[in-house]
């Protein structure tokens, strides 16, 4: 596939692997956190770890949009979908299986609620236009990556005078999550692999405090396996040179100032929440967005009565520790036994970007790589 295969070339990967191996300090153990769930998925999907020396450990970060949704926010939306007449709840496909306190959207649909999968918030708006006698609510999730598409949809809905459409807003912001990770005393990181798609929107400047105040390198990376290897090589170079800088490996897409048009659309339609509860991480100040006053008519939380359900994470579930990178997925008490991709207890096991699901599906292969190489090549 043109423009894709170029970024998956094993020959180039071997060159990068050699460069990394040469610059790794003997006897030193490195912990790099890939903030973004998309990176976690790519690392497992392509076996990126197979090219890294044992000394480099990749720690999975909090940047999986599905994983950070607290159970109560699923129950709130389910309650609206089940109590409001003529309601169609729309969401992205990977949200359907996220467990709430009263089951998932898939379960709610089996009980009779009208819940449909859309590929874009604009599809949800179109559904509202096509069904004037129904109300269509879009369950918005994601970091700054997806917030602009929700913002543009809100602007379109307002411009077109659509009255039967609303957004249940769960957009979150990445910087407070990174701050929360760094505040956690149990984790010592050597560097960050920065989130590529979030950075297309917010740019590179919001990370400057990480290199300046925390003295940690951060390299914003793309999502192809070679992008990841190159960004790790750039990090290892920084550490070997004694530098701590914000670097941009994903320059083909990410600009220093991000995307001003997208940022304006977000600022027009959304405002920061004082607090937002994150799955496993607890309440984090100014870490999420709500629909702005100007778009109040499209705010599901203003239009409908929201129970405001607070559900404590199940006791056995250690998603918080996994999201913070303190525990490896398999160190969680219920990993792979009570909590599996088909019967997830925690959100990390639901999304293909979740650390636990990625690890469950792909992980063992990475650990067996040495034995496997011997076997298949003899």
């Amino acid at each position: 596939m043109k423009y894709v295969d170029e970024y998956r070339d094993p020959e180039l990967a071997r060159h990068l692997a050699q460069r990394i191996a040469e610059r790794v300090e003997p006897g030193r153990h490195y912990k790099f956190m890939e903030v973004c769930g998309g990176h976690t998925h790519a690392i497992y999907r392509y076996g990126v770890q197979d090219y890294l020396p044992e000394a480099i450990e990749l720690v999975h970060g909090p940047g999986c949009p599905v994983c950070v949704i607290p159970m109560g926010r699923i129950d709130d939306a389910t309650a609206i979908a089940e109590s409001e007449q003529d309601m169609i709840l729309t969401c992205f496909g990977d949200l359907m299986r996220v467990p709430g306190g009263r089951g998932s959207f898939l379960d709610a649909r089996a009980r009779g609620a009208d819940i449909r999968v859309v590929y874009s918030p604009l599809d949800a708006l179109r559904l509202a236009v096509d069904n004037p006698d129904r109300h269509v609510m879009f369950y918005a999730i994601g970091f700054e990556t997806t917030a602009p598409s929700t913002a543009l949809t809100l602007q379109r809905a307002k411009a077109d005078g659509v009255t039967n459409f609303s957004v249940f807003c769960n957009h979150v912001t990445i910087i407070p999550a990174i701050k929360a990770i760094l505040d956690s005393p149990d984790l010592r990181l050597d560097a960050f692999i920065g989130p590529g798609h979030v950075s297309t929107v917010i740019g590179n400047r919001p990370y400057e405090w990480i290199s300046r105040d925390e003295e940690l390198p951060i390299v914003v990376a793309g999502f192809e396996p070679l992008d990841l290897l190159e960004s790790i090589a750039m990090i290892v170079d920084q550490l070997a040179d004694g530098r701590a800088e914000v670097e941009n490996q994903y320059a083909r897409v990410v600009r220093d100032d991000g995307n001003p048009v997208a940022l304006r659309a977000i600022a027009d339609t959304m405002t920061l929440r004082p607090w937002f509860e994150w799955r496993g991480l607890g309440s984090i100040k100014h870490s999420a967005l709500q629909v702005s006053e100007r778009y109040a008519d499209f705010d599901a939380e203003r239009r409908f009565s929201v129970p405001g359900v607070r559900v404590a994470d199940p006791k056995a579930c250690q998603c918080g520790e996994v999201l913070k990178g303190v525990l490896k997925p398999w160190e969680c008490k219920v990993f792979g036994t009570a909590c599996t991709p088909e019967t997830p207890i925690g959100t990390c096991m639901v999304s293909s970007e979740g650390a636990c699901a990625a690890y469950y599906n792909f992980g063992k292969a990475a650990r067996q790589r040495v034995e496997l190489k011997v076997k298949t090549h003899t």
Binding site: G93, R97, L106, A110, E331, P341, N361, K364, A366, T376
Partner: protein
């Protein structure tokens, strides 16, 4: 205890859980139970297998094998609820014939006859019904089977989606076929009969709403000619076959790995996927290995028969894209691994969840 020991213990627990008899503990049936992956397995093994327990059913092959007057006969049944009912490369009627005759073919039985029952929604146009009857007749003729009995029911508007079709088929087990998952052993080779993912992607695009335009045509076709050629060329060296419908090639290989207690290593770069399908999957974040096929099967042959098997399959149209995609290994038993195009390794599990409902 070291980290490695703890990890090993966790892995052992997971393996135990994977192999344990499946229990159906959900309160209601959800769409996930129809996707052909893990949830489907729970429904089937947790409810239906214990209810109907008998030796023919328990292997959960594509067809049950029974004896009639001393002759081994393969029998199978399949329901079709695809939406939309017409799609590039086929329609529900054609699918209903091919799905059932293929289940017989990969069980090593030449398809002989099928039955068909129709659930029709009040208000469906006569043209639609006529067109599907014609499509079934043509598909049956192409597959060399007769439709020997049938039934029709009509339900109120909204209680079905235009039409659902169920077909049941029988065939006599071919004497050349010695298919048994337990004969699969390390060193054997894994072949797919052609490029994968076409059917699932064709349906996805035909549903519209994705705003992806590509000429992808369903692969629906009867596979018996390829099976016939294969059995002629390799006989007992053909160890096992299965058609890669719901859940795709990945799910089928996982079923084999569990049944045969072997590991399978798949070479991702060897898996034939046409560029349009690969690109559509890339855009949608779907792995072609999990996409449904309706005219493709996976076969395991002894290593020394692989060239003859490929030549035989490629000698007929339905098998002309056949390719060796992987190897059977001893370790890790019950697991499927992928050698990625990037040169790394990854785990390939059964399908979980539901990328696309009502695909067949």
């Amino acid at each position: 205890m070291t980290d490695r020991d703890i990890e090993e213990r966790v892995e052992a627990r997971i393996e135990q859980r994977r192999r344990a008899a499946q229990r159906f503990s959900d309160e209601r049936v959800t769409m996930a139970h129809g996707a052909g992956g893990k949830a489907s397995r729970k429904l089937v093994e947790g409810v239906f297998v214990p209810a109907f327990a008998n030796p023919a059913l328990v292997t959960l092959g594509d067809a049950g094998i029974i004896e009639i007057a001393g002759a081994p006969v393969a029998m199978t049944t399949d329901a079709f609820v695809v939406t939309p009912i017409c799609f590039p490369g086929g329609s529900i009627g054609e699918l209903a014939v091919n799905g059932t005759v293929n289940d017989l073919a990969v069980s090593g039985a030449r398809p002989l006859a099928i039955t068909a029952s129709f659930i029709l929604e009040e208000g469906v146009t006569a043209d639609v019904v006529r067109a599907e009857a014609a499509a079934m007749a043509a598909a049956a003729a192409a597959a060399g089977v007769s439709v020997v009995a049938g039934d029709t029911k009509v339900v109120e508007r909204g209680k079905a989606d235009q039409m659902y079709v169920t077909t049941t088929g029988i065939g006599v087990l071919d004497a050349r076929a010695q298919l048994d998952a337990t004969t699969v052993r390390p060193g054997d080779r894994v072949i797919v009969s052609g490029r994968i993912g076409d059917h699932g992607v064709a349906i996805m695009l035909a549903r519209g709403g994705l705003e992806i335009e590509a000429d992808v045509i369903s692969d629906t076709a009867p596979v018996w000619p390829a099976v016939d050629a294969l059995l002629d060329a390799c006989g007992a060296s053909v160890r096992w076959m299965r058609d890669a419908t719901r859940g795709g090639v990945a799910t089928v290989l996982n079923e084999l790995a569990l049944a045969a207690e072997v590991g399978i290593v798949l070479d991702e770069h060897a898996v034939p996927v046409q560029p349009a399908v690969g690109a559509a999957c890339e855009l949608l974040g779907i792995d072609p290995l999990y996409v449904a096929n309706e005219g493709r099967f996976v076969v395991v042959v002894a290593a020394d028969a692989v060239d003859a098997a490929l030549a035989a399959m490629r000698s007929v149209t339905v098998g002309d894209g056949a390719a060796v995609v992987g190897d059977v290994v001893a370790d890790p038993p019950g697991r499927v691994l992928g050698r990625t195009t990037f040169g790394g390794h990854r785990m390939i599990d059964m399908l979980v969840g539901d990328p696309l409902p009502r695909i067949c």
